[in-house]
């Protein structure tokens, strides 16, 4: 079995961008990162900023891998931020900076956290594409992304941002900005031959522009690793091999 993705992909101060397509959604990647982070130590805090999905799905999927999110929510190790509750009022008012409250909220929570010496803080933003779709101006979204990345770098926090690609091959403006900001980019995309029962999609790993000494070997799209989704997550295998999976 291929050891992908490398577990230490989003080290403190690093930004991980995960892009996916409708035919190959990357939920499983986010759940996997959340699970690894919460399991690594008792008090590694995580802030989950969700734009589109509610906490119920996160809880239900995590339960399949024996991770009871309710415990972490009660212990305040895991904080769930419903992004729309901070954005919707401002969208109605048509202010210039509808995302400011959300950013403030995230920063406040980060500053409030006092992580232990060895543990790391993780922030997951799922997803940033919907913000542009529902009417937040592109300029505002890119500024929000930049400010969020800057805050996380300053506070030595790992950040994972998920972005949906709707026009494969033609990056939209937000994606172009995000690509400039990220340290690593996990690219989850569908098979070029369409859907298949045994292979759910493929994953590639790219480095961001500021990544001078990458700790992991990059995987180009032409040699992407295939994965197959099960209820527990994704199983990875080299393309063209069954590796006991198929």
């Amino acid at each position: 079995m291929v050891m992908f993705p490398p577990n230490e992909l989003a080290l403190p101060g690093e930004i991980l961008l995960i892009t996916d397509e409708l035919l190959a959604p990357a939920d499983f990647m986010l759940h996997r990162h959340l699970a690894t982070h919460l399991k690594e130590s008792k008090s590694s805090p995580c802030i989950l900023v969700s734009v589109s999905e509610g906490i119920e799905r996160w809880k239900a999927v995590a339960q399949k891998s024996n991770l009871i999110l309710a415990q972490y929510l009660d212990a305040e190790t895991l904080t769930f931020v419903d992004a729309m509750s901070h954005i919707a009022p401002h969208l109605d008012e048509r202010t210039d900076v509808p995302l400011q409250t959300l950013l403030q909220e995230i920063k406040t929570r980060l500053l409030r956290l006092k992580p232990e010496e060895e543990s790391r803080t993780l922030v997951i933003l799922d997803d940033i594409a919907s913000l542009e779709w529902i009417g937040v101006p592109v300029v505002e979204v890119t500024r929000f992304a930049r400010k969020l990345c800057a805050s996380c770098r300053k506070l030595n926090v790992s950040l994972i941002i998920r972005h949906h690609v709707t026009t494969p091959g033609e990056p939209d403006d937000i994606l172009k900005h995000l690509l400039q900001l990220c340290t690593y980019h996990i690219d989850v995309f569908a098979l070029s031959s369409g859907r298949s029962g045994s292979v759910s999609g493929q994953v590639a790993l790219h480095g961001g522009p500021a990544n001078l000494a990458p700790a992991h070997r990059f995987i180009p799209r032409s040699a992407a690793v295939h994965y197959r989704l099960t209820d527990l997550g994704g199983i990875f295998f080299d393309r063209g091999t069954g590796s006991g999976v198929l």
């Binding site: 409708l22 239900a60 999927v61 969208l91 109605d92 594409a129 026009t167 859907r195 099960t230």
Partner: protein, 471 residues
């Protein structure tokens, strides 16, 4: 007295009427869309707390609205609460189909006070089977190799539910209209609610219909949230039509996004939405529009009808359009239950099946789509296909077949088209069997003697070798 105590599970609260738990995921409660084959595609039904978007980009047909009518009719039939978001919700409901029964409106008789009772499904399906039988009669006459004769006929769709499963999905008949009494009683019970998307303008001149509808739906759902015994169906037959004002793509996205958030907050409701044809195109929404819509809803399909494309209609004459699946609901799991449980999609067998729909006289069904037997050079047939066009022609030369059946052609009494057998008979009898496996042409026979006017079968393809042996 046994020392063992039976471990009883905690009493689960009873499910709302017309719903059941999803086989793949016990936390998911699903409800029927009114169309059994569509339920199968979705993995058993539409889960509560999920939104379902039907795109129908063909401007010449209204199949999307038909699916929504089934959705509303099913909701009323199993006693759920139906909330229709439309400026003419009453007339939309009045056009819905209903179950065939003694009290339905099919004969135009004034509706009696009793609600229509579901008829015995055998009546409906018997008429259906007659249609199907006539259509597939030619198939039975194909000479099947003896070892395959025992196999059952190839299924292209899921069967209609039997009597025992009637509580979940009722059998609707497109020739019956919903009785007025049913609508009145639903209104009286507050099971039929309607929201009117009036086109207002907000402060900056943008239409505020979307926000107002979301607000109104939020009020309705919070009012009925305490009543857990009834599921609520939100039915939006024409999101973004002219009554909603001039919407831009961001308005539609915001609406779908907020609607889904509403459904997550009140998980005893589900929603079904259809958009008018001009809003389903990329000309309106920009590149990647269909993908965006797929991300913003839990389940999303496109019914691409053949209306404006005569070549597709000719090629797939038994169907009315393609079905493209963009997103499938997975409210509590990573994998949508449809992947494991859908017979139509076929992921459990080999790969994804192509899907199509057809609207028959009494119902709408979704089927797997397969290319017809005819296709390609050198194919062999033993009977003409139904789509072959017969043409009167003096010089006959049917397309040859590599092997002839062992049986000596008799008087053409066995075959459906006497013409073909006669042709073969005429060809075979005088010529000695010189066929090899590779030859796709049999030597033509000299037209001698008087014969009845033969109808020449015109086939859509031609062999690569010209008719060398045609005398």
């Amino acid at each position: 007295m046994s020392a063992f105590k039976r471990r009883t599970t905690a009493k689960q609260p009873p499910l709302p009427a017309g719903t059941r738990t999803c086989p793949g995921s016990t936390a998911t409660v699903i409800t029927s869309t009114g169309i059994p084959s569509l339920d199968d595609i979705l993995g058993g039904g539409l889960p509560l707390s999920c939104s379902f978007l039907v795109l129908a980009p063909d401007p010449h047909s209204a199949y999307g609205e038909l699916v929504l009518k089934y959705f509303a009719a099913q909701g009323l039939a199993c006693g759920q609460r139906v909330c229709v978001v439309d400026s003419r919700s009453q007339s939309f409901l009045a056009e819905c189909m209903w179950m065939p029964g003694s009290n339905s409106n099919s004969s135009g008789v004034s509706a009696s006070a009793q609600p229509a009772s579901p008829a015995v499904p055998s009546q409906v399906t018997a008429a259906e089977d007659e249609e199907d039988q006539r259509a597939s009669e030619h198939d039975t006459k194909i000479k099947i190799a003896w070892r395959y004769e025992q196999m059952k006929q190839f299924q292209t769709t899921v069967p209609s539910p039997s009597q025992s499963a009637d509580d979940y999905c009722r059998t609707f008949d497109l020739t019956c209209r919903i009785p007025e009494a049913v609508i009145q009683s639903a209104r009286a019970d507050e099971r039929f609610l309607d929201v009117d998307p009036e086109e207002g303008t907000s402060v900056d001149g943008r239409p505020s219909s979307c926000r107002r509808v979301i607000q109104r739906l939020s009020e309705i759902l919070s009012q009925v949230a305490s009543d857990k015994s009834l599921a609520t169906r939100i039915c939006i037959p024409a999101l973004g039509s002219s009554e909603w004002g001039d919407l831009i793509p961001q308005d539609i996205c915001y609406f779908l996004h907020s609607l889904r958030a509403l459904l997550r907050r009140y998980p005893s409701a589900c929603a079904s939405i259809c958009m008018p044809p001009h809003l389903c195109q990329e000309a309106f929404g920009g590149p990647g529009w269909v993908q965006k819509l797929g991300w913003l809803t839990d389940a999303s399909i496109t019914l691409a009808a053949f209306g404006s494309n005569p070549s597709l209609t000719a090629m797939f004459s038994s169907h009315h359009g393609f079905v493209h699946i963009h997103a499938l609901p997975a409210p509590h799991t990573l994998l949508p239950p449809s992947d494991k449980f859908s017979t139509l999609r076929g992921l459990t067998s080999s790969g994804e099946n192509n899907l199509a729909f057809k609207c028959m006289r009494k119902r709408l069904i979704f089927e797997t789509l397969h290319l017809d037997v005819e296709g390609g050079v050198g194919e062999r047939r033993t009977t003409p296909s139904t789509s072959a066009i017969a043409m009167e022609s003096a010089v006959g030369h049917g397309h040859g077949h590599a092997h002839e059946p062992r049986t000596v052609p008799t008087g053409g009494s066995q075959s459906v088209a006497a013409v073909q057998v006669q042709l073969e008979q005429v060809q075979i009898a005088p010529t000695p069997p010189e066929q090899t496996a590779d030859q796709t042409l049999t030597p033509g026979k000299p037209e001698s003697g008087p014969k009845k006017a033969k109808v020449k079968k015109k086939v859509a393809f031609t062999s690569e070798r010209p008719d060398l042996y045609d005398f």
